[in-house]
């Protein structure tokens, strides 16, 4: 202890105190405060930037979700539209088909009716002609047969004979 006190130099103590305090105040004013402020500001800046990035990310997420939703809706709408169109097409086709069927049936019916009528007419006509022809032929035959007296008698006889037999 005595040795320690012996080593103690008041001059060195004085200068150390003075110089150190001067250094402390100078550094505090010109170095530590600017440095710590700069570091703090930077840290704040980084924190803010991170927060902003997080916010932006969330916003992006929201936007994405919106986009997704809109896309989904659009897709649904499109599907619906397509479905409707398809249905409409099918309806139109089926309607058209029905119409056509009806039309066709009508035409066929008319045609058949016409054909029937024509056939009837043709048959009637044919009958008339056949009757006419038959009459003509019969007239001619009778005329030929009846041109000769013998033949007329003979015919009568034959006819009578036939009548007898039957």
């Amino acid at each position: 202890m005595e040795k320690l006190l012996g080593e103690f130099s008041i001059g060195l103590f004085f200068w150390q105190t003075v110089l150190f305090l001067a250094l402390l105040f100078l550094l505090r004013k010109f170095a530590w405060k600017p440095i710590l402020n700069a570091v703090n500001e930077r840290e704040e800046g980084i924190k803010n930037a991170l927060d902003e990035a997080e916010n932006a990310r969330k916003e992006m997420q929201n936007l994405n979700a919106d986009n997704e939703r809109i896309l989904k809706e659009a897709r649904a709408q499109r599907d619906e539209l397509l479905k409707e169109a398809r249905e409409m097409k099918e309806n139109i086709i089926s309607e058209a088909k029905g119409e056509a069927q009806i039309q066709a049936n009508k035409v066929v019916e008319q045609a058949q009716a016409t054909i029937q009528a024509e056939k009837q007419a043709a048959i009637t006509d044919l009958k008339n002609q056949v009757a006419e022809l038959s009459v003509g032929i019969a007239e001619k035959v009778v005329r030929g047969e009846l041109s000769d007296k013998n033949k007329q008698i003979k015919l009568v006889e034959e006819m009578l004979k036939e009548v007898t037999i039957s």
Binding site: G11, Q16, F20, L24, L27, F30
Partner: protein
């Protein structure tokens, strides 16, 4: 110059087999040039026992001095030649006396200033007569008058230089932040993590988020001051500032003053009423007869431990290092000298760590004391809990 001298010496006085040792010495001279050179100079005297000279040299190295001498040697005429610069001596002895330390001729002569005569004896200035007589008492202490000594000694000069260095270093660092948008450049890349470490791992945990800011300038200054000055002590310039008790007293005193002047009500309450409302006042009286003196003593012991720790660690480190270097000259053998060299090298590496560690411990403990001083939470509650627990 010195290298040649030592080689001449070894080759001249010893046999060729000592060449290796001379080479070892050369290595040593490179590693610890200033220190080693002093050893050889001392050895050249030849009239003293080598152990004594080494011991004296170590003593001398640990002392402050009035001039900034890097090394010295004896020239061909047998005169001591010092390489370095004299420093101003400032004495208060019936008025201010300022003169150059060159007047002492490195303690060898009496300095005549006006009508007064001064002589350096064991590193201190004493007032003497014209012949420089030092009167010793029974305990070999001089009885001469000691003028108040405010000299710019080697240590003061180093403190001043370190202050300048720190100021420009950290001022530059602060400017680099301003210039570069809050991002450090250059040496700031090295210092910024240290500053942040002191803030985040020393100041904030010990003092608390709200109050640490006002202590930061002191903690940073004291950390870098002690660290840089400890590191300088390991260079061959051979300065030893933190192993002067005056310096550590000054540092610890500032910690002490800051602690007690920023002490909150709770801090003082903790000292003078440590038990608080945990028990009736009548029961506290017998306890307080013991507790209060202990607490009051604690106020002083805390900074005292700071100053002794720093002083003793650095001083011990220097003594060990210097003794190991000195051992090389005592052994003068194939085995001993390289071993001492290796040990000295290892110790210097450890000393590098100690330089940082002591700065860290001083800062850390200062922060801890500031934390005690600035705490505001309820002690009574805490102590109540402690007592109930018991």
């Amino acid at each position: 110059m010195q290298l040649i001298l030592s080689n001449d010496y070894y080759l001249g006085n010893m046999q060729r087999k000592n060449l290796v040792k001379a080479l070892t010495l050369l290595l040593l001279v490179f590693a610890f040039s200033a220190k080693a050179q002093h050893e050889t100079t001392v050895e050249e005297h030849g009239d003293k026992d080598i152990k004594t000279t080494i011991k004296e040299y170590i003593q001398h190295h640990l002392q402050d001095s009035y001039d900034f001498s890097l090394t010295s040697y004896t020239n061909d005429n047998g005169e001591h030649v010092y390489i370095g610069a004299p420093l101003p001596v400032v004495l208060i002895d019936g008025g201010l006396q300022v003169f150059s330390s060159s007047k002492f001729h490195h303690g060898e002569t009496v300095a005549e200033v006006g009508e007064n005569y001064y002589k350096v004896y064991h590193g201190k200035i004493y007032k003497t007569d014209a012949a420089g007589t030092i009167n010793l008492d029974d305990h070999h202490h001089p009885t001469n008058a000691k003028p108040l000594d405010f000299s710019i000694t080697k240590n003061v000069a180093v403190i001043f230089l370190v202050g300048l260095l720190m100021f420009f270093l950290f001022r530059g660092l602060a400017n680099s932040y301003a210039k570069n948008n809050g991002i450090a450049t250059g040496s700031g890349r090295f210092f910024e993590p240290i500053i942040l470490y002191i803030r985040d791992d020393i100041a904030i945990p010990n003092i608390g988020e709200e109050k640490y800011k006002k202590y930061m300038p002191y903690l940073l200054t004291v950390f870098f001051f002690i660290w840089i000055i400890n590191m300088l002590g390991l260079t061959p310039i051979g300065v030893n500032v933190t192993n002067s008790i005056s310096v550590t007293v000054a540092l610890a005193l500032i910690t002490f003053l800051i602690t007690n002047f920023t002490g909150t009500k709770d801090y003082w309450l903790h000292i003078f009423d440590p038990l608080g409302s945990s028990m009736p006042w009548i029961a506290k009286i017998p306890l307080y007869i013991i507790l209060i003196p202990i607490e009051v003593l604690g106020i002083f012991i805390k900074p005292f431990s700071l100053l002794i720790r720093l002083y003793a660690n650095i001083k011990a480190g220097h003594i060990v290092l210097m003794s190991l270097i000195g051992l090389m000259f005592i052994f003068k053998s194939w085995l001993g000298s390289p071993l001492s060299f290796g040990l000295a090298f290892a110790i210097s590496l450890i000393e590098l760590l100690v330089a940082l560690l002591q700065a860290y411990i001083f800062t850390m403990l200062s922060a801890l004391y500031f934390g005690f001083a600035s705490e505001t939470h309820e002690h009574a509650e805490e102590h109540k809990g402690e007592i109930e627990h018991l």
